[in-house]
């Protein structure tokens, strides 16, 4: 990447993620980048985007400069249409009311499976990670967008532990496991935008971020990547996107 940029890696993630959302969608958002991206989309071109939070919130408009530190904080209920129990908001996913689940990820594999539970052998782990939270429920029950940092150790061929299922072992294995609905839709990183092959369910590059090469993406990935036949180059963040984003996270909790 040779060009000078007026944005950071932590800023491009929510901006590109926000662009994936469509006005009128019902989106179940995790804390951090997903919350920030969904709120950004609401304030840019999706004023009728409905955001659900795991704490039990439907249709919130989070206040600029007051991002919640988790999806279970009162800040998540700002101008909400409805507040309900945590199990009940998760059941809305199961019933099918949600278009998109939107999460961060610590480790992902070629089939879009996410690991946030264990590094190493679960029986005797090198690192015990925080665990699934609602991640397993969300990724089991709806179409997913994941926004995460692109590092080789995070993009692995097969995760040590499937915390949140993507396409499991590819093909029809997700469906065969008892998960007929949903699946990985997009992965957004500071390098590229990824989709999944309709048949093999392996990850493939749909678009490169501005100034990023195919080689750079492949070099930072722990498995062989496919590239879409009609690969695109993503437009860089606009002034408006950056301005609104920085207003939203003026405390710089997530874009520092």
């Amino acid at each position: 990447m040779t060009e000078a940029r007026n944005y950071t890696a932590a800023e491009i993630l929510p901006i590109l993620s926000a662009r994936q959302l469509r006005d009128g969608q019902v989106v179940f958002a995790g804390v951090g980048t997903p919350l920030l991206a969904a709120t950004l989309a609401q304030r840019l071109n999706c004023p009728r985007l409905t955001i659900l939070f795991e704490g039990g919130v439907v249709g919130a408009f989070v206040e600029p400069g007051k991002l919640p530190p988790s999806t279970n904080d009162q800040r998540c209920t700002r101008r909400a249409n409805m507040v309900l129990g945590s199990s009940d908001v998760l059941l809305l996913l199961q019933r099918g009311y949600v278009d998109i689940g939107f999460m961060g990820g610590a480790q992902i594999d070629q089939f879009g499976n996410l690991n946030s539970s264990f590094i190493g052998d679960p029986a005797n782990p090198k690192t015990r990670l925080p665990g699934t939270g609602g991640g397993n429920d969300i990724s089991s029950l709806t179409n997913m967008i994941v926004a995460m940092k692109h590092e080789k150790r995070r993009f692995v061929e097969n995760v040590d532990f499937i915390t949140s299922p993507g396409f499991i072992r590819g093909g029809t294995s997700r469906h065969d496991s008892g998960l007929p609905a949903g699946g990985m839709f997009r992965v957004i990183t500071e390098l590229a935008i990824f989709g999944f092959d309709e048949k093999t369910r392996r990850m493939k590059v749909l678009a490169l971020n501005p100034g990023v090469t195919r080689e750079e993406v492949q070099d930072n990935t722990g498995f062989r990547l496919d590239f879409d036949d009609e690969i695109a180059i993503t437009e860089p963040p606009t002034e408006t996107e950056l301005r609104v984003l920085r207003q939203l996270d003026s405390e710089r909790l997530f874009i520092a």
């Binding site: 904080d73 209920t77 998760l90 015990r128 665990g131 008892g178």
Partner: protein, 321 residues
């Protein structure tokens, strides 16, 4: 052995029939309330992450050096650190366990799980919720459609995959969880225990119904007349409740909806100290903030007036237009 986790209905009903469910005043001190929790019990904890955590009760259990508790909660944050770090608990059932998303991994949790053999039993968030809900409904299990196909399920032989007898689909049955005692903090209740919760309820209603005993801490005890003026705001009926303690700021340094937000300066300092040294850092923290203060109010004084008032100002702002 795993099968035995689900209480047979007969035992649930026998426990219930021995419980005094009459309309009676139940106001006790924090010390007395904590005596409902005995070593080795299954304890359900209300609230979620940094919200409406029954922190004063946890503080008291640490002071009384309770041990071997098996604790369950929707999502665990610094409360889990304190339960493991103090020796009060050696088994936590939850879906997520760190200090808070802002701070990455909990070195305390990692130390106790990776090196001390303590158990963090992981279920999906809905899995924990359906277990409490089954317990509250008086049924041995509930069906759900998540966890399937994942390694989270592979680690949980306590759950059972079945072929649905109606549709032939694969569904997961998760076992009821009926804690021996639940600890729940609310904004207000009356002396009988009729509790009204503002804003986020998390899993507290199911938990209260599921547990064999419920201890409520409350920001304020109000009259029964006030409860009866808004009966559809009552979330926990009095006959589920066995003890009521009035503890202002009873979730500090976590938040209580509409009253105070988390006390972030105290939490930041805590996280720095315990992550720097999960053993001695924790011991120093517990001695200073948990064992040495004479009372809960003294502990609040150590958090400091500035932080309490600032958290309150932010807490009340949720009702601004």
């Amino acid at each position: 052995m795993l099968e035995a986790q689900v209480e047979p209905y007969k035992r649930l009903r026998d426990n219930m029939s021995q419980r005094d469910r009459s309309l009676r005043e139940k106001v006790v001190s924090l010390e007395e309330a904590a005596s409902f929790v005995q070593d080795g019990m299954k304890v359900g904890i209300g609230g979620s992450t940094m919200s409406r955590t029954p922190m004063a009760l946890i503080w008291e259990l640490v002071r009384q050096r309770r041990k071997n508790l098996s604790c369950s909660r929707s999502i665990v944050s610094t409360d889990g650190d304190l339960l493991f770090g103090s020796g009060v608990s050696d088994h936590i059932i939850t879906s997520w366990f760190a200090q808070g998303i802002l701070w990455g991994l909990s070195k305390v949790m990692r130390h106790h799980v990776e090196k001390q053999g303590k158990r963090y039993e992981e279920w999906s968030h809905m899995g924990v919720g359906m277990r409490f809900r089954a317990g509250g409904m008086g049924v041995p299990f509930l069906p759900m459609r998540a966890m399937l196909g994942s390694d989270v399920l592979a680690q949980r032989p306590e759950a059972k995959e079945i072929e649905c007898p109606f549709t032939g689909e694969r569904v997961l049955l998760v076992p009821a969880l009926n804690p021996d005692v639940a600890l729940i903090h609310v904004q207000r209740c009356d002396a009988y225990g009729n509790a009204q919760i503002d804003g986020l309820q998390f899993m507290d209603i199911d938990l209260a119904l599921a547990a064999d005993r419920v201890i409520l801490t409350t920001e304020r005890i109000v009259s029964n007349d006030q409860i009866r003026r808004a009966p559809d705001q009552t979330k926990i009926p009095f006959f589920c409740v066995d003890a009521v303690v009035e503890v202002p700021y009873g979730s500090a340094p976590h938040e209580c909806y509409g009253l105070y937000e988390p006390m972030m300066k105290h939490l930041e300092a805590y996280v720095q100290q315990v992550n720097a040294d999960p053993v001695d850092g924790m011991k120093t923290y517990l001695d200073r903030y948990f064992h040495e203060p004479k009372s809960w109010n003294d502990y609040l004084a150590m958090i400091g007036m500035d932080e309490l008032l600032e958290a309150s100002q932010r807490g009340r702002s949720i009702y601004n237009d």
